[in-house]
Symmetry: C2
Subunit: 397 residues, 2 copies
């Protein structure tokens, strides 16, 4: 009996190995290969291709003039065909420490790197990713430190009359410490969702590392879905695996801001929080910065720390919502209560740079105190990760 | 002041729209398009391609004789080029309700469908997915029912001297009910990890739906990483975004089974569990079925419900571990304690079918009671989802 059964594992290992080889192709290439000097080689085996290119955020961006402003498209470089139909590109210079995204373009068709299983979705685009370690980028890596828990949890919003999905980071030790924690609400940009900050934002790695280094306080981080008509991220809703709508209704017209206290109530009921203004922060990128600005002034007793990352500032004139009424008076009330931190970060080439200059001028005119952080580059995830690593250590101290 | 600021949102919306169009391409096609009769059309715009194919699990599989048995490769079909370089394939027959996976092959190069953002990773392969609803497949969809929470949480294994990652499903209402729950440990197959059951296995959707229908008891589901030398899934470890090793050390040689009580202790300490045999189940697919078999007989007072899904049965003869010693005696002890359920499921064309026939013969000879479920098809996710929907309703009743 036993002899017959003994074969089953050999069979399993053998067939699995065969299947994996079939899945990987017969002659896999290594891509990307990060060399010791931090230059990187990308390879694609494509013997029948006529042209193979790479596009990624480590290549010089291409500024494109649109009717509404300058948009920086990711740069493009050509791969060269070598032996056995393997195309190759090596960066001419070492890459600085950072998390980078890229895709191949084969005869004008964008595709993933089949040798790289690591992909991150941003809005409706999936790209391959890799990390050059060192410096600040070490905060983006999984290191040998205690790890927090990342949960996808659904809350009921009485205001929106919907069940909606949240991503919640609880710091290492939360489950058994019995302690209460401060809460940081972290909001995504236009087209994003409750997965954005945890994926490209590297929130759990950044918080794990900053907390382990003693640079940030242990805190709960709540990542909402800022599209008020949406239950959850694409693929996580009753809409199923149908193509996500490119329309973005109910994002910057006051609904999300109006319903925001539902989230705070749910979190305070469900988690061991320090449920007061002193222990609450809110920040967001782009549209999420806009949300943070308007939520924090609408509810001036809710948040003691506010972060505007590459923020849009003011609503479209045609938008009517009580949220946007009495702007000057609400801002006055908010600042009269002296928030512990009002933090503004923006990149020098961001298309929202001038709007932020104007907004800071308004704050200066009224002598409203804020902290300003200016970085290189534009409206990109690289900056939002940097702003998170700068902002989180300032909270709850 | 306000007038200047007002522009920023228009700018944001305008640039984002432009950027999204650039990301999506100028003339996106719809793919896959599920027609009313459940035939499906796939489309790819590739004007320069010479040959475009599709491979997926809805096409008749290609049996491949390997030195170790028959492996069923996913079938392949040709797309036809139409207007404007848009290639198309429509299934000749309606597809049965199911979650399906597919990829395109363009001039022998496998690629994702750029019109479909939904992808699931299985081992080292990423494929696009879609669902044909109806029947059992409705259990795989996000429906309008209360949703459980899915957490990625790290535990310390004193036996393995490692921090390791778990995926844990807690049923809707867990956070605030104050109640204790039974626990179902659900194990992946060779090459998989703690993400496998939640992604392709649709565990959270299946449990949400079965619990909402009153067919399954509210329970905690713990999805472990069965590769004992691995901290976590690829990309979630200190190994970073380097190419995952195709070697699978410490998977079927007793280490994982030896260290399993560490997981149970952690879960009972961390969650509100009913911490006794009566309220514990274990099941797994393929290698996970093998683990479930050996863990449940090694610790006969730990699990009252056991599920072997397309299970490998016996270890390779060369493997020496106390876990595999005294097989017959341990099995005798386990069955003398009368487990509430010992469930075996396998597909008719599975390469492990005969091993399971032999194992059932052994159980029959000793009059050990078990439940047997035989399905069509082979060693594939379609079957493992079916087995989960059959097995979960039998637990903790």
């Amino acid at each position: 009996m036993k002899k017959i059964l003994l074969l089953s594992v050999l069979l399993l290992v053998g067939v699995m190995t065969y299947a994996q080889q079939a899945l990987w192709g017969s002659a896999p290439v290594v891509s990307p290969e990060i060399h010791d000097d931090n230059t990187v080689t990308f390879r694609l085996k494509a013997p029948k291709a006529v042209k193979v290119q790479i596009t990624g955020d480590f290549l010089a961006p291409i500024p494109i003039q649109t009717p509404n402003g300058v948009w920086e498209a990711p740069g493009v470089a050509d791969l060269k065909e070598g032996k056995d139909g393997v195309w190759e590109y090596t960066t001419p210079e070492p890459l600085a420490p950072e998390l980078y995204s890229y895709s191949f373009i084969v005869d004008d068709l964008k595709m993933m790197d089949p040798a790289n299983v690591y992909m991150i979705r941003d809005v409706a685009t999936v790209t391959n990713v890799f990390i050059i370690g060192g410096g600040r980028a070490d905060l983006y890596e999984v290191n040998d430190v205690p790890h927090g828990t990342v949960s996808r949890i659904w809350y009921n919003s009485p205001t929106l009359k919907m069940e909606r999905r949240l991503t919640v980071y609880t710091p290492a030790g939360y489950e058994t410490s019995g302690k209460r924690y401060p809460v940081f609400y972290l909001l995504h940009g236009m087209g994003g969702d409750e997965e954005a900050w945890i994926a490209l934002g590297r929130t759990s790695q950044i918080l794990d590392n900053l907390i382990a280094q003693g640079k940030a306080e242990p805190m709960i981080v709540v990542m909402t879905n800022g599209n008020a008509s949406q239950e959850a991220a694409p693929g996580e809703t009753q809409y199923g695996f149908k193509a996500p709508s490119m329309n973005l209704p109910q994002t910057m017209e006051g609904t999300f801001e109006t319903a925001f206290p539902d989230v705070v109530k749910f979190i305070d009921k469900t988690y061991r929080t320090k449920a007061n203004k002193k222990n609450r922060a809110i920040a967001g990128l782009s549209m999420g910065g806009y949300h943070s600005l308007h939520i924090s002034k609408q509810y001036p007793d809710m948040f003691n720390y506010v972060g505007l990352f590459s923020a849009a500032i003011m609503p479209d004139k045609s938008v009517k919502s009580p949220i946007y009424d009495d702007f000057d008076q609400k801002l006055k009330t908010q600042f009269a209560k002296k928030p512990a931190l009002y933090w503004i970060g923006i990149g020098k080439t961001d298309f929202l740079y001038q709007a932020n200059v104007d907004y800071r001028k308004l704050l200066d005119e009224h002598n409203y105190k804020y902290t300003y952080y200016e970085s290189e580059g534009g409206h990109i995830w690289r900056n939002w990760r940097i702003y998170l690593t700068e902002f989180a250590p300032l909270l709850f101290k």
